[in-house]
């Protein structure tokens, strides 16, 4: 019976100011590592490959020659849903988020965090936030570049599409979905890195789950990040043939459910990660 008052008391008494300062300190340390570490190079290559391809396409079709706005909008939607969401952001987040804790274990430096006057939950929050910032910065910038290249070569028609048509709305939606994808996959891979030593095999399982979730029972679909993201994409891509597996929305839900649904899933995964890190011991030899 005293649960609610004690929770209320906890929220009132908790040192929020200290925890916030500690989260930002962790973010400062980790962001630098995530963005500048040598092993992030492949993430940059994966992230900017579509922007590069769209840039080449733009150079090849000056002033919209040999293409149309409608076609290019569909192509961009395809690139976003099939490459960014399913491969680029998925594997990018896998690389970034699994390394947040796993990297510290491999480099035998996790104990420095564990010996600081820092709650492990605060450490998880700081590391997660730094991962989200890094991934959103990399993939958000890439999406922005792809979008700009895709419409810039249409000249006045492209500008009109962006500023007077639905273009800006599409861009906002793409960036929003990118943010949610980073949050969703980020939480998943961060938690995964605390459970398994090698994330490759579980990563393949998650990839299959995310890819084929459309054929799963309705309840299980809700445990997929892609289930929520697909519904938020601004442009649908043709659901024909094998592509239908990736693009069909079997059970449409409104964004008002999709966004809170995804965030709830992420919070649940992060709570699990916090519980896991509380029990973590330093035994580098075993790793």
């Amino acid at each position: 019976m005293s649960t609610i008052p004690s929770i209320r008391e906890f929220f009132r008494e908790a040192p929020w100011q200290l925890w916030t300062a500690q989260v930002f300190a962790v973010v400062r340390i980790e962001l630098k590592k995530s963005l500048w570490m040598r092993r992030s190079v492949w993430i940059y290559l994966v992230a900017f490959a579509p922007a590069f391809a769209v840039g080449l396409h733009a150079l090849n079709s000056p002033m919209g020659r040999n293409c149309s706005l409608g076609e290019d909008t569909a192509i961009l939607a395809g690139i976003f849903q099939l490459f960014y969401l399913r491969l680029g952001i998925f594997f990018g987040c896998m690389g970034l988020f699994t390394w947040l804790f796993r990297g510290e274990v491999v480099e035998k430096s996790l104990h420095y965090y564990f010996l600081a006057p820092l709650r492990r939950e605060v450490l998880v929050a700081g590391k997660f936030l730094s991962g989200v910032l890094a991934s959103v910065l990399i993939f958000g910038l890439s999406v922005l570049l792809s979008f700009t290249f895709m419409y810039a070569h249409f000249g006045a028609a492209g500008r009109a599409f962006i500023f007077d048509g639905p273009g800006l709305g599409h861009l906002t939606a793409y960036l929003g979905v990118t943010l949610l994808a980073c949050v969703g996959y980020g939480s998943l891979f961060l938690a995964l890195s605390l459970v398994v030593k090698n994330p490759i095999l579980p990563g393949i399982f998650v990839l299959c789950w995310e890819t084929f979730h459309a054929v799963l029972p309705s309840l299980l679909q809700k445990f997929s990040v892609m289930f929520y993201l697909k519904q938020l994409c601004p442009v649908s891509i043709p659901s024909e043939g094998i592509l239908a597996l990736f693009t069909v929305v079997a059970e449409p839900v409104s964004p008002w459910i999709a966004v809170p649904g995804l965030l709830t899933l992420c919070v649940a995964i992060l709570v699990f990660a916090c519980a896991r890190i509380r029990r973590t011991e330093i035994s580098y030899l075993a790793d």
Binding site: P15, Q17, L18, A21, Q22, A25, V26, R28, I29, K33, W36, M37, E104, E107, K108, S109, H111, Y112, Y113, F114, L115, A116, P117, L118, R119, R120, R279, E281, I282, S283, Y284, A286
Partner: protein, 316 residues
Amino acid sequence: MSNLNNRVVFENVSKFYGEVLGVNRVNLSLPPGVTSLVGPNGSGKTTLMNLMTGLVRPTQGTVSVLGFTADQPEEFFRHVGYCTQFDSFPKGVTGYEFIYQNLTLRGITKQEAHRLTCEALERLGMTEAASRKVAGYSKGMRQRIRLAQAIAHHPTVMVLDEPLNGLDPMARAEAIALFEALGREGLHVIISSHVLHEVDKISDQVVLMSYGYVVAEGQIHGVRNEVKEHPMQILVRCGHPSRLAARLFSQDHVVEARLNGDGKGILVRTRDAGQFYQLLNRIVVEEDFALEAVTPADDDVNSLYQYLIGASGGRV
């Protein structure tokens, strides 16, 4: 045991790594001062230190430091500094960043973190190398920068796992002087080391470990008195050693009296040091003996190690 809030307390602590024993049924209450953890490799010294600092959790029992446990990290690690044996660092940091970044996790201001960083660097003589990457440091420098990081926040309990490893003789002497000074200031300095004669000089108490068990603990002299199976060795420097030896031999508690190599003293082995000193006083007064010096010859960590953990080790 009167004031547990000023002690490092282990209550019936055991730690198993799967089926492998780390430490077993450890009961300790360490007061302030310099405490040495002594034992061979694999005896459980590092496990004990990791338990003390929450890096590993006990399978059974409880550990508290000044009344706090590692489950209260904000309070606990304000008081505790741990220099581990892991010779590893976050990638790409300079000596300055290594200490500064850790201090910023404490929620203090940048200015305060900078001040404490500079102070710690100065104290360990690392100011000049502070802007260089730690990856380029020598082993001794890496050891010193880790020590600097462990003491930067002015902890009241310092746990130092083999802190003298890799240090050159000069740096060793400086580090020992630092530990000694901190111990005198009333701080807890808990050191594990293989260099017995160096820790012997500064230790207020000792914890001897073997195969995961605490074999003996307490002040060195007290522990030595408890080791009954090894008679106490006392070196007596005097002018007529053979006369003194003949006089001593008649006593039951004197096991052996051996002439010293230089012929100016005898090494006595006695089962009762108290009685021996009384007897010696009596002889000096009654027979007008001129003594130069009387010193215990095996009242040190090294001897305790040999007696309790060496080949013929026993338990107190």
